[in-house]
């Protein structure tokens, strides 16, 4: 089940659209107005919210890119609809 899901996710990531979407998503999440959600003088565990947000967001980005590189390495598959890299 997990394996199937992973494969499905990786296959979608192969598409050129995927990285464009992630890129735009990243730009949105790091800029006004989205970032105002976290741009508040609040703290969690004594650590400022925005600091946590950026650090976690950074790690998530790295992980997504990691998945993405795994997706590139997947063997060619017809299910891709031909619109791969």
């Amino acid at each position: 089940m997990w394996l199937k899901l992973k494969l499905l996710v990786l296959k979608r990531l192969r598409l050129r659209e995927s990285w464009v979407i992630f890129f735009i998503l990243g730009m949105i999440m790091m800029n006004y107005p989205f970032i105002t959600i976290f741009n508040k003088p609040l703290k969690a565990y004594n650590i400022p919210l925005l600091f946590i947000y950026l650090q976690i967001g950074w790690l998530v980005s790295i992980f997504v890119i990691y998945l993405y590189t795994k997706a590139i390495e997947l063997p060619e598959d017809k299910d891709d609809g031909g619109e791969d890299h």
Binding site: F23, N31, E73
Partner: protein
């Protein structure tokens, strides 16, 4: 606490020694073919050169003053990492295939190898990066001062009149330049990888990461109690944490500034010359990108994780934000951890050294290739050029570093580190539109790129560099407050009245707006040059390019250049050894003709290869210029292939014009079967469509001569009247015997003196001979085309088209030949049939005549009953019998001329004539045969024929029978009352053997009832199925059975019995039979 100068300098020197060793080790391994740097991890570490002292020290400084926005410089590149597999990989692929040496080379190559563009980018880079290098030098000297406690206190004798800090950064600049030369400029070729340099960078990246994390852990968990502790203490201390952990106020921390920073850093990660150099030029394998995509962001995350704690910790520890730039160093130092401080210093030193080395190497390459080479190529190449070029490149490294040094001395301490770095970022981002547009937008052209970059650079200079100079106090002016000449709307930091935003956003917005606008506008309005179009294909379609499908050459050399000439040219720029190595790699298994040259169609490829090889050392633009100027020196140039169809075509293979000509040719072939008309019409078509002055068809004759069968165009006697045996040393003969197109695109290059003279006399500029042959068959002739005006029209596709027309013609010739052969065969058959019919008719006539020569009815003589019959086997035969009634006797003769031909029949007729004459004068059979032999001997001898004859004289009164025999079958005499037959025989030779022959004459008395049977061998030699002969015995028995019958009945009985015996077998021989019955 401070460290002693000896310790710091000693540690730094030891560290440098380590780097040198690592670099040499890597270079040696490379030479052995076992690269240590060619793996994704080293690639990631080398990309980390992005993090310089600006990160190492400056991030903390920025974090302490403006807060979290420091991380944007690294979040931007993290975002772009998504695109690397497409964007970076494409750039790398293009660079490898075109031997690109730098970002200036890359962009200028894309826009038609423009020297102007390359020079412009180089200039901008030098101006734009200068502050950045200055920053590194400043960081090294400042940290050195800090760690040694301002050394001029320690070493006053070195101080002299100048602050020692000048010396520190001077020494740093000097050492960095030396490193740059050692690692990056040992050889001229810049497209080659510098493994030593990369290995050193990788070690430095490890050190700076380790050092920074060590300091981070020490500050966070040593001085304080973790992240939470630092944040809460700061809050407790009453510091306004808000502005550091949030943003959104006007100015430096506004939302727009936030966005601008992300954009700047996204561009910088690939556009900075050192980044381009490391990520593209030093990349050894595209696969490495995959690991780098996530590992490089991870590296940045790690090194930035402790920036905030160090910054805030520093504020808490020192109670001030002053000197926040150097918290990494000062915190361990102040807390008494000298070794950690030394490690931190070395980490910062690493960050500076790596950046300065690679940046200076990358920029010096651009400096040499795009600023110096355009001048160098104007001179005639000399043998010492390679030496001069490499030294110029080394000089360039010093120049770049010391320009930075000079900037540092002038501008110095004004801005904090981060700001200086951002100026450089904003400079290089001006290349982004031209680079990205060049990769994906076909229409983007040179004018657009130059316009955009100039506009962008001007705005950058005015809105960023100028204010930095003013703020540093280097230039006293009120321009920042009042605008130039008091025009407020032109204030650099609020250009065109765009107020309320920070200077970065102001600069970025206006520079990119004008840059992109200029690029798009000029690209759309102005056209692309030919060379640009070619380059566009190489860049935009780099993944789609398949060498097999590459379109045919549309350029040709006006004068062929030999391989050696090219090698000599390359030697003058890259040295003899490298020139020879690369050319032998290239030639490989390529075909070389007898003169050591390559084929005309291969030459442009060779030229491209030479350009590419030179480009690896001097950049594409200069390489192009070098080759062009060399070609013009040797009197050759690249010309456009003559366009047969009057329009530019990328691929001629199946153009509509091509199809049209083929179609018309097919129509001509199908319209008629008359070969002459086909040839004439085809020549008309070829001449009309391709504007030839003369077109000829020659076909091979039975005498193995190439004979002109048809021609169209002007009568040129020297060419048309040439019917020659094909010889291999002529172009014509070569085409025919070699069964390949033989052509000359420019008769100036004719190496065959004989034809040269003749062609010159007729004013022919180019010609081609195409063998007329079907696929896989020997040629039947040659199609020749001549032009007096057009040079260089014979391209492979055009020759293919002509060959295809010639092939169609060959088909028509074959069909014509087949039709002719069939006609001839039919005619021969008809003639034979006619002849046969004529012969048959003649034979029939002959037969009638012959039969008429035989007596119709036997004579009617009392006491004797005759019966006679002749059945010829063929239409005419050689059998003969006759009766000559006399007064008291009757002569009977039977004869057989050998053979069944007309000749035999004629001889028989002659014999009859002679015999009839002789019978009158001679009485005895013996005399008659003797005379006959004598008379006929000559004729028989000549005709190689002979006659057997039996001659009988029967005296009616006495019933005596006298007879003589000339070799004929013995007649049978059946005597009444006797049971057996008597064979009548007499000595005598066949007529026609000898002239003098004695014939014996015998006599016998006949009685009533006797039957004499004279016959020819057709009866006794008749065969049955078993091949047995009829024989005389059988005949004799038959006579005995039927002797009572009348002569006629006996005759018919014999014939019937013989026919029954022979059954189905057709008559082998003539049958003649004479029956004489005594009544």
């Amino acid at each position: 606490m401070i460290l002693s100068i000896e310790l710091v300098v000693g540690a730094a020197l030891l560290y440098v020694l380590l780097l040198v060793m690592v670099a040499f080790y890597a270079d040696r391994r490379r030479a052995e073919g076992r690269s240590v740097t060619s793996n994704p991890y080293i690639y990631v570490l080398s990309i980390a050169i992005y993090l310089t002292t600006w990160t190492y020290y400056g991030s903390v400084g920025r974090a302490a003053t403006t807060g979290l926005d420091f991380s944007l410089i690294y979040l931007g590149p993290t975002l772009t990492a998504f695109s690397w597999w497409f964007l970076l990989r494409k750039i790398i692929r293009i660079s490898k295939e075109n031997n690109i040496t730098s970002i200036a080379d890359f962009i200028s190559s894309r826009y038609g190898k423009s020297q102007w563009l390359g020079a412009l980018i180089t200039f901008i880079t030098i101006v734009g990066i200068m502050p950045y290098i200055a920053l590194q030098l400043k960081a090294v000297s400042s940290t050195f001062d800090i760690i040694c406690g301002y050394p001029y206190i320690q070493l006053p004798f070195m101080h002299g009149n100048y602050p020692f800090s000048i010396h520190t950064s001077f020494f740093a600049a000097f050492f960095f330049s030396i490193f740059g030369v050692i690692f990056g400029a040992r050889r001229l070729s810049s497209s080659e990888r510098h493994e030593g340099l990369v290995a050193a960078i990788a070690v430095e990246s490890i050190l700076k990461l380790v050092a920074f994390i060590c300091v981070g852990i020490y500050v966070t968990y040593g001085l304080f109690d973790g992240f939470g502790d630092i944040f809460s203490r700061l809050a407790a201390k009453g510091e306004t944490l808000g502005h550091l952990t949030t943003f959104g106020e006007a100015g430096e921390t506004s939302y727009s500034n936030w966005f601008s920073m992300i954009c700047l850093s996204m561009g910088a990660i690939i556009l900075l010359p050192r980044q381009f150099h490391i990520m593209v030029i030093e990349n050894s394998n595209e696969e490495h990108i995959k690991k780098a995509m996530w590992m490089f962001p991870a590296y940045m995350f790690l090194i930035n994780m402790f920036v905030m704690p160090i910054a805030l910790g520093g504020i808490l520890y020192t109670g001030d934000v002053l000197g926040a730039d150097y918290f990494v160093l000062t915190l361990p130092l102040k807390s008494g951890h000298s070794w950690l401080a030394l490690l931190a210093f070395l980490g910062g030193f690493s960050a500076a050294a790596g950046m300065v080395m690679v940046e200076s190497v990358a920029i010096s390459t651009m400096f040499l290739n795009h600023l110096l080479m355009p001048i160098v190529v104007r001179f005639r190449p000399k043998a010492w050029f390679p030496m001069m070029l490499i030294n110029l490149k080394r000089l360039g490294i010093f120049l770049v570093v010391f320009l930075g040094y000079t900037y540092q001395q002038i501008v110095g301490e004004t801005y904090m580190l981060v700001n200086i770095g951002l100026i450089s970022f904003a400079a290089v981002i001006q290349f982004a539109p031209a680079l990205i547009g060049g990769l994906y937008w076909r229409r983007g052209n040179k004018s657009g790129a130059i316009t955009g970059i100039i506009l962008g650079f001007s705005v950058w200079f005015y809105t960023l560099l100028l204010p930095s100079l003013v703020k540093s106090g280097w230039w006293q002016s009120r321009i920042l407050e009042d605008g130039p000449f008091g025009i407020g709307i032109l204030k650099p930091t609020e250009l065109f009245g765009l107020s309320g935003i920070d200077i970065w956003t102001n600069a970025l917005f206006w520079s990119l707006l004008l840059n992109i606008g200029g690029y798009l506008a000029c690209s759309i309005i102005l056209p692309q040059h030919e060379l640009e179009k070619e380059q566009v294909r190489k860049f935009v379609d780099v993944f789609a390019l398949d060498r097999k499908d590459s379109p045919w050459e549309v350029k040709r050399f006006s004068k062929p250049v030999t391989i050696m000439q090219f090698v000599n040219l390359m030697t003058k720029f890259i040295g003899e050894h490298q020139a020879h190595t690369s050319i032998s790699d290239y030639m490989g298994d390529r075909e070389i003709d007898e003169k050591g040259g390559v084929s005309e169609f291969e030459l442009p490829n060779l030229k491209r290869f030479v350009e590419k090889t030179l480009a690896g050392s001097v950049g594409a633009a200069a390489a192009g210029a070098i080759v062009e100027s060399y070609l013009s020196d040797v009197g050759s140039k690249m010309e456009s292939v003559y366009d047969i169809y009057s329009k530019v075509r990328a691929d001629l293979n199946e153009s509509s014009e091509n199809l049209f000509v083929r179609l018309r040719a097919s129509e001509i072939m199908n319209r008629t079967l008359d070969l002459q008309i086909i040839m004439d019409d085809l020549l008309d078509l070829v001449r009309r469509e391709f504007k030839f002055d003369l077109v000829i068809i020659r076909l091979i004759s039975d005498q193995n001569m190439l004979v002109v069968k048809s021609y169209r165009g002007e009568h040129m006697p020297g060419i048309i009247d040439r019917n020659a045996t094909p010889e291999i040393n002529t172009y014509l003969g070569d085409a025919f015997l070699g069964n390949r197109s033989s052509f000359l695109n420019d008769t100036e290059n004719n190496s065959k003196p004989e034809s040269r003279e003749m062609l010159a006399r007729e004013g022919i500029k180019s010609f081609a001979h195409i063998p007329i042959a079907r696929e896989g068959e020997a040629p039947l002739g040659v199609l020749s085309v001549f032009s007096r005006t057009i040079i260089g029209q014979f391209t492979p596709p055009f020759l293919n088209l002509l060959a295809s027309l010639a092939g169609q013609l060959a088909q028509a010739i074959r069909i014509d030949a087949e039709i002719r052969a069939k006609d001839k065969e039919r005619l021969e058959k008809e003639l034979a049939q006619l002849e046969n019919a004529r012969v048959l008719r003649d034979m029939e006539i002959a037969k009638q005549i012959q039969l008429s020569l035989l007596p119709d009815n036997p004579p009617d003589i009392p006491g004797v009953q005759f019966a006679c019959r002749c059945i010829p086997a063929a239409h005419v035969g050689g059998d003969y019998y006759d009766f000559f009634p006399k007064k008291r006797s009757v002569d009977i003769v039977i004869a057989d001329v050998s053979g069944h031909s007309v000749g035999a029949a004629l001889i028989m007729a002659e014999t009859r004539a002679v015999l009839r004459a002789e019978v009158r004068s001679k009485n005895s059979p013996q005399d008659i045969l003797t005379a006959l032999n004598d008379l006929l001997h000559d004729d028989l001898d000549r005709a190689e024929l002979f006659i057997t004859m039996f001659y009988v004289t029967y005296e009616t009164a006495t019933r005596r029978l006298s007879y003589a025999n000339a070799g004929h079958n013995q007649p049978l005499l059946f005597r009444q009352g006797k049971s057996s037959c008597l064979e009548l025989d007499a000595e005598g030779l066949i007529l026609g053997i000898h002239r003098k022959v004695e014939f014996e004459e015998k006599e016998i008395q006949l009685a009533q009832g006797d039957i004499l049977l004279l016959y020819t061998d057709g009866i006794t030699e008749a065969q049955n199925d078993a091949g047995e002969l009829y024989g005389m015995g059988r005949l004799c028995n038959l006579l005995e059975e039927i002797h009572v019958e009348t002569a006629e009945k006996i005759l018919e009985g014999v014939l019937r019995d013989v026919a029954r015996y022979a059954k189905s077998i057709t008559l082998q021989d003539d049958i003649s039979i004479v029956v004489v019955k005594m009544l």
